[in-house]
Amino acid sequence: MNLPKKQRERTSSSQRSTQEPGWVKWSLIGIAGLFAVVFLFLPLINVFVQAFSKGWVHYFKVLADPDTISAIKLTLLVAAISVPANVIFGVAASWAIAKFEFRGKSLLLTFIDLPFSISPVVSGLMFILLFGVNGLFGPLLDHLGIKIIFAVPGIVLATIFVTFPFVARELIPAMQAEGSDQEQAAMTMGASGWQTFWYVTLPSIKWGLLYGVILCNARAMGEFGAVSVVSGHITGLTDTVPLRVEKLYNEFDPAAPFAVASLLALLALVTLGIKTYLEWKTERDEHQGQQLAREVVGEPGKNFARDLPAHSPK
């Protein structure tokens, strides 16, 4: 009767010896919590409070403004082009990197990360230097009558550049972890390259891909710096939602920028929600699988007797 109690004491004391004292734990939690509240939660609340400061009617009136509507349309268009473009690039790049050995592989990896390390303003400027009136291809484009800078194509290009790494970065580690055995197995059973990709590769990367798409989309819709440089800020023509927010902020109605900004905040919340759901789902699938496998396996010796087909000689 004494033994269990003694054991319990021993475990609890050993647990205590590996833990920091309580005040360390609580002050760390406190600091992190305080930062979250002051820098993340309060500003977010403030956006919505300001947006509705003049009431519901005013809020929707701001959103229904033709210039705002056109900004929303442009943002959706830009996202609709740049996200699929990045999906195609991301799948191709991660496939190449994960499944093949080739020269310049690490160089390609570095290039994929480039947009993360360059300031968005500089990225925008690069396109000006390439396609602007005095840029490298400026005269040629002018001659052909194609307008890229201060027009929609420039905005799309800048957005694609900035969102470049999102899908690829999600997929490369996932594909590298998978290896190519499943694809080879499919091929031994007669599957063509396309069938292999469609039936085997794509399903195994779908959650990673979706995750990358969501992050890519959030960034594509929210990008300010690079887009601001190439857009030219033509109201009703080349203003995206973030640019529209800035423009309204410089005008006289204090509630208007927040009303438009609340759309972006909402997008952020939805993104966060989906992201959390995806993470929760993958984790739960894995956990359930492990649990089932454990039930199946049970004790190693015992399991096998039940597991192994008993062969009767014919």
Binding site: E178, Q182, T188, M189, Q195, P300, H311
Partner: protein, 367 residues
Amino acid sequence: MSIELKNVSKRFGEVSAVHDINFSVNDGELVALLGPSGGGKTTVLRMIGGLEMPTDGDIFIRGVRVNDIPVQKRNIGFVFQNYALFKSMTVFKNIAFGLKIKKWKKPEIEARVIELLKLLELEGLANRYPHQLSGGQRQRVAIARALAPKPDVLLLDEPFGAVDAKIRQELRQWLVHLHHDLKVTTLFVTHDQEEAMEVSDRIVIFSRGNLEQIGTPREVYEQPVNEFVARFIGVMNILELEVRNGMARLNELAFPAHGVPEGKKMKIGFRPYAVQVSPDLTQYGYQAVLKHTYFLGVMLRLEIVLPSGLVVRSRISKEDYSKMGLQDGMCVSVQIRNYRILSREDEPLTQEVATSYDMPAHIAEGI
């Protein structure tokens, strides 16, 4: 003839992985490709499967040269070392995959999958995902999936490598039974000589990209063609002898010269069971000390040291051991009953020439 390899070589850049291999596999045979890692056995299997292209030579499956036939069209079943099950598909869909690709009709697919689930005793697991299965179950799903499209040959890469020792033992027998029932030509790769001996009809032994010997388990055990095979299959005593005064000698041991000229060397090998031991010091020709006894179950292995320090391993049954009253540290007499010449300095040995010799009585009785 189900599979035939003619002068097949494979180089990866500068490295020669497989060198001029020739062998054939009969219809319905179960053949092991055996060798140490890096021996080229997996490369050979992958070349037959079409996952690697040979640099030289021809590969035939059912009489058709398949060098230029892509993996998709070779009609082979391949079981990967780590099974490579489709993680996002259930057991049912895994097994049905090859049939779906081959455009079988739905009811036919269903019937075939159910047949295989029954054959591999996987009923009730059809809707599980691979990560919800134990190692042994995964392996059987992989085999079922490979067998589903009725392949001409079944190729397995280290089929028991990823399960633990206890399950592996039972899976071996299970593979023998399955092969017995299905009669599909089967090649499997292994580095475990015991596994190869136990499971296969014939063994192909590789080392460093060369084919060393092909034969039944009994042939490669009793008649190894060279030192590598002798050492790789089971325990072997190997001695390097030099011919002096008409006898091939090493320390106090002397054997007939078998025509090897004076001053030249030869290597012989003998299995532990060929070494006879007696507590009667006058019974056999050489006197020695029983240094250590290893208990291996029914059989015991004895380490016997000759006066010159030469160590010879012997194997006897537990029964004989206690009948003779042997124990460590005892003086014993020994004889080597028969042996094989593994190499000789005066002429290279070919597979046909390598023969075993029974020790002539007058020599065995002592010199």
